[in-house]
Symmetry: C2
Subunit: 792 residues, 2 copies
């Protein structure tokens, strides 16, 4: 095992003294936030009324986080580093708030919470208090790009922050609880994607405090030789810091940090100046200290410090139990607050000795408020990439392939700026975006063989078979002020349901914080969608991500279903310019009819939903029926149905409505894009049957439109979990979304049709039967379907 | 690195010859499934019409899977093993189908697909063909408990199958693509939870074929020393098999398998007979062979075998391109089918030499059709655990704690049978189920310290900080015929959204297969729910899992929201008896009023929804308004609102309806539990205002009930993403679900109220204002709320 360099060299006695003062001050402030609402400086003996009525928060991880904050301060100041820290054990909110308050960044962000006794009292009181701040590291926390509530994503966020930030050091504290999660376990391999030339450094600090909520952790209970093998297997050079004596740990951690940073500097120099191209084995630190360190050793006769019992509030009964109250006072006084803070509550010079200045403070680093660094993406004119459409529905393009050309240009135009990344789980080419490889290769630091294509040490396309890493990397990249797009198989984006929840929550909150500048939106391109899983079948069929995100804050979420190539271009242009949203774009990669010219597409996408006059048979009067559609395959089926109706029942006035922006269906009061009733009624009528062919689960349309006047006339077709490996048209037939079924739906719902309609209905039913027989015989779709084009 | 034992010892020349014959036969069959619809034995030259019109499937992984199948056959037969195999690269469906067809289990399961030439033609034709079988390993595949479409879960499934199956060997083939996923990366640590005494063995086979869809894989491109460190860091003893010469690889794999199985047998003997309690370092195999091995080396001048281009269909143009057709024929004939199959198409004696018999065949092992092994869970009478309820709403219990006592008894009553497991991400005690520890400890094979509690080498409670592993383990356990419960924080169950999708799809399909016996349902207990995240706030608040599962097949999904302790007992009893469902039970862990006696609870849960006459103010006539509720916190607020109405507007006829089973709100045609309209109308009326207080996102209720006559009168309150760290009552106020708001809703919606109602409304609004001031001052809820009890 690699021991850190000789420890005595790292710190002078004076440095040790002042570092320890900072750490004690931070520990004092962390405990104070959990317990106190008055008497913050202990200027009088603690009384029950100084104690908060509800004791909330997580003490256990806080001393370790404080220790890292203290020591990062030292090296940032000593080396003039530009550094960010991702706090994986984000439950330890009190620690990060303490560090920020001590360095002054907190009071600059929140002037009410001044860096003095009055401010300290407010700092304590607001913590986990109604109207105050959350208990975790959160958007409200200066210096953070990471919400610590849901565990698993810290290391991926750290890598995302480091990509294309060559001068940045991103330290990432990983709790040993978090280390058990899948996303974190996979994140260790991110080092194979970090370019030592154009990216910054990530310094993982695996904090083994031994326990989760109620159990020991796996990594703290395997032999150190096994742990060492594991971390070397991840590609790291681990440095170990173990102890419970503060002075010894201070020395060891300082030495380990110096060692790690020296190595990082040397590796970066080698790659950047000496042309070394061998893969880098980055250092990391294993920090093994007790959970709830410096807190109560025992409470009511059972061990607390160093055990899982220190996880939340180690002394729970202080308001009612005088012995607990005394123990709390002893604990708080053990930090010797009178040495740490002046009578006015300001931190002493010793405490502040290690603190860096200005934007170098962890709570002030602009990378942690990425919007302030964000530049508009250079987006080329769409007309260059648009497909020509002389007549709708006659030529075919693969929409994502057309988009790929646009993305190639964006990649090209950001070659020097390096502030755009495309991420995806091994699917960029499968999703037909491979044109981007002409402008940037795929990031790859591991071995390359002659047969490989498009791998590059400096590439900005990120591909790994982990949706979690794609999402986590991109979040970290966006939160530090850059741009990106995540292309994903539609069904498997559910893998990151929980991550997108947390990102939406982050955006919802950060939008309310005036000091946080808007960041680029998180853009999903969901393709290889439910209707075209020819190779893969049922396991790859799930359109429910749209439903999932639409449960979330309307000010953040947007959903687009462009029906063809040009509308996809228009939507992509829009989402890449947007800020502070999560945009979900669902579009096909298979050949799809071109319906709209670029100008028409722009106008249609700007409206978000509109009547396609050319596709219907209205003649100025009210329609008899509305055929609505959202999504590429439903649009094709609706247009085919409209054509069948024109042929078979030409007297019927059919209106075709296409919806691109799903939130337009919501009431105006419920979503900023929602239509007022008059507009909805103008499109869909108030009393005519509406047959709506939707890409996903049909009830979503009802959930969006149930308040509309005409809702009782709304009949939705969509995916209803009937899937397998079969032909494209069989998929729509199985789910009753096919053209023949839609015509039958119209006939079943429009009153007063000609007698002839019954025969037409039978013709449609016959066509469905013929389809069933045909595919079982031939294994492919009926020629009249496979070769259909729009001739309406 | 550990090399396998001397290779020449493992196989005789005769064995080598017959094993290779089996492998070649399987490769032939795998390729045949992808390409052929006629001429299966190549009795005539290949012509375009023998080729399927659409070429679908995944060749790349198939030869490797075939190799493992072949060699497992050998060791099963030689050692009389009871063995299961989990095929992680499940895209290689053709391989597993080939193995099953060769051994005869396929034809026994599907008699139409006989083990002869006619059956071979059908086997080929049905693959990825409309009306046929999916391209992946799936429920339709004999011997499989694993759908290979979504990657990441194979190793967790394997461990789940091995738990409490001491005589079972579970081999798990892990693709190097899958190995990049988070869930798989975390799964390696499952070895710290596998009891060598009571559990079976898991033998991971990491198959490095080098490529994913379009990229090299991380683990195939790091130095073998680094890979070796990684696998040892996971706790394994790796054995390496590398090559591309079939004979050499056959010998090496046979030797490695013998070595691994000898070690496993020795370790199990040590733990079971010799009392060895040291942690076991289980062997595993690293198998490095080319992707698409034995397929076309080059196509159109570019390398295919051994590259990502072999992933799906290596020769795409065979129907149109005569050169490709010739190349396919050469490829197929390279296996020398005339040696492998008789003129009638039956496999030759050589091919079948390695195949085991009867239930020992991989496709016939009963563990892979777990329902046939399933026994009813011994469930104790509920009255033993019921809480006494003299008067509703006066005493409080923590529902999950009461459930914990029941689960303790189940754990106790399965002590010998060992067919029940409780899984959770470090939250069993946090979720107040810790009574179970009196009957079983927590499984733990790593180091134990004196301070630890409830850890046990033989425990059946599984706790790791990974929802993915909890889910994967439990799925594997259930699919092999046992029972279990997954307790989880409500918000974080979204982490497994995608996994539950796949399990529901599995159940939907397996229910249609008569040969698959029903298995125990997958039961979620979601607690620490949205309304009571006092410590954790916004990041821990998400009730959307219910919405997620309700998008899925209605024949599989069930959702229950018991409002108190006794109803939770009744629901738990029900779900633990059920089969082939995914049951989602949402219940609180915080003190909650007892509303129903055990008998009342049973009757109420049997109905799923009902009127609580004692809570309302109806007097035989139609009510003026319906107050409906679902969930513990909404129920409390509705009852408090009913009480306020009784006090302030006693003349108002209020009906209180509680819903336990959410799917009862659906129309009868859409869900087996759905109510017919007459029943819905009888509960909710067709024309009276219904104020519905729901636990989760309010629009879910509209999505369920939009077809009902009275839908226009339905007004739903629920969680609308307004959360933070605050008091319990503030949470309901923030989301407009509080008693005062509900009374205001009633007043706003019931026509013709007394003039006095306006004053009552103002009283309610004042109470909300008082609340706001109070919590900001005191940090806790208003006494009249905190101390409220039902006195209606």
């Amino acid at each position: 095992m690699t021991e850190a360099a000789p420890q005595e060299a790292a710190l002078s006695e004076e440095e040790l003294r002042t570092l320890d003062a900072h750490w004690r001050a931070a520990n004092y402030l962390a405990a104070g936030q959990i317990y106190l609402m008055a008497n913050p400086l202990l200027t009088e003996p603690l009384r029950p009324e100084h104690i908060k009525p509800r004791l909330l928060g997580h003490w256990g991880t806080s001393p370790g986080l404080n220790l890292v904050y203290t020591h990062l301060n030292r090296v940032i100041k000593a080396r003039g580093l530009d550094a960010l820290c991702v706090w994986g054990p984000g439950h330890g909110g009190p620690a990060v708030l303490a560090g920020s308050w001590l360095e002054g960044s907190y009071s600059e962000t929140y002037p009410d919470i001044s860096r003095d006794g009055a401010g300290m009292e407010l700092l304590f009181r607001q913590f986990s208090f109604p109207g105050g701040v959350p208990s975790h590291v959160a958007p409200e926390t200066p210096g953070s790009i990471h919400e610590g509530g849901e565990l698993g994503y810290s290391l991926a966020h750290a890598y995302g922050a480091a990509f294309d930030n060559p001068d940045l050091l991103v330290t990432c504290v990983i709790g040993d609880g978090e280390a058990e999660t899948g996303p974190l376990a996979a994140s260790w391999h991110s080092d194979k994607f970090l370019d030592p030339v154009h990216d910054g450094a990530v310094l993982p600090v695996l904090h083994l405090n031994g326990y989760k909520i109620a159990n020991p952790t796996v990594l703290s209970r395997i032999p150190e030789s096994e742990l060492d093998a594991l971390l070397r297997g991840y590609g790291h050079e681990p440095l170990y810091v173990t102890g419970e004596d503060p002075a010894q740990v201070h020395r060891a951690l300082a030495a380990a940090l110096d060692d790690a940073l020296d190595r990082i500097a040397q590796m970066q120099r080698g790659a950047r100046e000496e042309g070394i191209t061998e893969r880098v084995h980055w250092p990391m630190i294993v920090l093994r200290t007790p959970k709830g360190w410096t807190g109560p050793a025992e409470v009511d006769g059972v061990p607390v410090e160093g055990t899982w019992r220190a996880h939340q509030v180690p002394l729970p009964g202080v308001r009612e139990n005088p012995a607990h109250l005394r123990q709390l006072e002893q604990w708080l006084r053990s930090y010797r607050p009178e040495e740490l803070f002046g009578p006015d509550g300001r931190p002493s010079a010793d405490v502040l000795a290690c603190v860096p200045e200005g934007d170098r403070r962890l709570g002030s680093n602009p990378h942690a408020n990425g919007g302030v660094l964000l530049r508009d993406l250079p987006l080329p004119p769409l007309d260059t990439f648009a497909v020509a459409v002389d007549k709708p529905g006659t030529a075919l393009h693969e929409p994502t392939r057309v988009l790929g050309d646009l993305l190639e240009q964006v990649m090209e135009d950001t070659r020097e700026r390096r502030d755009f990344r495309l991420v995806g789980p091994d699917e960029t080419a499968s999703n037909r975006l491979q044109a981007v490889f002409d402008a940037s290769g795929k990031a790859w630091q591991a071995e390359v063989l002659p047969v490989d294509e498009h791998l590059s040490r400096h590439g900005r396309v990120l591909e790994i078979l982990s949706e979690h890493l794609c999402q986590g990397w991109l979040e970290g990249y966006l939160l530090t002020g850059r741009h990106g797009l995540f292309s994903c198989y539609e069904a498997f984006v559910h893998i990151v349901d929980s991550m997108v929840n947390q990102h939406i929550k982050w955006l919802k909150t950060s939008r309310q914080l005036t000091w946080r500048a808007p960041i680029a939106s998180l853009n999903y391109l969901l393709t290889s969608h439910v209707w075209r899983q020819d190779h893969n079948g049922f396991s790859h069929q799930d359109p429910g991500f749209v439903d999932h995100v639409l449960n979330k804050s309307p000010e953040v979420v947007r959903v687009y279903l462009p029906p063809d190539a040009n509308t996809l271009l228009s939507v992509a242009d829009h989402v890449l310019r947007s800020r502070d949203y999560v945009n979900v774009v669902v579009a096909g990669k298979q050949p799809c009819f071109d319906w709209l010219t670029m100008d028409q597409a722009r106008a249609h996408c700007a409206r978000g939903a509109g009547i396609w006059e050319w596709a219907g048979t209205e003649n100025g009067a009210e329609p008899d029926v509305v055929l609505a559609c959202a999504g590429d395959v439903p649009t094709q089926e609706v247009l085919a149905a409209a054509q069948l109706l024109r042929t078979h029942l030409p007297e019927l006035a059919v209106r075709v409505v296409n919806v691109v922006d799903m939130t337009r269906l919501l009431p105006h009061e419920e979503h900023p894009h929602g239509m007022p009733d008059f507009e909805y009624d103008g499109l869909f009528t108030t009393d005519k049957p509406v047959i709506f062919a939707y890409h996903g689960y049909p009830w979503l349309i009802h959930r969006l439109a149930y308040r509309r006047t005409g809702h009782a006339n709304l009949h939705v077709r969509g995916y209803k979990e009937s899937g397998t490996t079969t032909t494209p048209f069989d998929m729509v037939v199985r789910n009753d979304l096919d053209r023949y079924r839609l015509v039958m739906d119209v006939i079943d719902r429009v009153p007063g049709l000609a007698v002839r309609a019954a025969a037409v209905r039978q013709t449609m039913a016959d066509a469905r039967s013929r389809h069933h027989d045909w595919i079982r015989e031939h294994g492919m779709d009926l020629p009249e379907v496979a070769e259909w084009t729009w001739g309406g």
